[in-house]
Amino acid sequence: MTYHNLLFVLAAVFAVWAVMAKKLLTSAIMLASLSAAVSLIFFDFGAPWAGVFELSVCAGLITVLFIGAVSLIRAEEEKHPENRTRFYALPLAVAIFAIAAWFYLPAFFDELATGRQMAAGGGTIGLALWDLRRPDMLGQVLMLAAGVFVIKSVFPRRTENK
């Protein structure tokens, strides 16, 4: 098995671990590990910019957000734990899915790959982001503004009712 496929298997293992972990904190940490594995895959593909973003934003910022939320609700979660029977069935479900999909999916994906159209290649990420896809940048700024607006509207300033 190549290093490349090994990273994909590692990502799948971290995903299953994140779902199966009993404590939410472990889940959040395993999600960060999954992000780190995904960013390693990006680097392996030769996509360093996506890898850096993935590592800093997904493995960093989102993990901090998750850990902050989990620390708030942890006491309640420990008092009323979720029924975990369905999670214990996950490895079995994944194994059944993997075996069943082995007979159909790879052949389908091979067929999908034959219809590809090769691009010219080349270019730089700066060219793609700033020149060719400039409306995307505007969309991202608007998206961030929408996020700030959601936080602002979910947590309004408390005013006294007179």
């Binding site: 992000s35 895959i41 593909f45 790879p106």
Partner: protein, 101 residues
């Protein structure tokens, strides 16, 4: 079997794990974790398709956009969780019906 087919097969397993988490759990945090797993698998499929067609530059630009959207979705979801938890003391999605208009 080509490398592309093998990659997408493993991506399908990761997506299945994320969907299973979202179906099986009632906790908002676990729902968001499932969503994160699915979006990671979607990103992997985008970069894999980009590598297949020798179009990594555009794939990276798309992934950066996806990451920004993902952060906003998670921040909004966790903000709803914190608000709902303060109001009702619960992180159960079945008790989110008080938010309906």
């Amino acid at each position: 079997m080509s490398t592309f087919a093998m990659e997408w097969y493993l991506i399908a397993i990761i997506i299945f794990t994320g969907f299973y988490c979202m179906l099986a759990s009632r906790s908002i945090v676990r729902q968001l974790i499932g969503l994160e797993i699915v979006s990671k698998a979607a990103m992997l499929s985008v970069i894999s398709a980009g590598a297949l067609t020798d179009n990594l530059v555009y794939a990276q630009a798309l992934i950066i956009t996806m990451i920004v959207i993902e952060v906003v979705v998670v921040a909004a979801g966790l903000a709803l969780l914190v608000k709902n938890f303060r109001l009702h003391g619960s992180a159960d999605i079945w008790k989110l019906d008080s938010l309906k208009g």
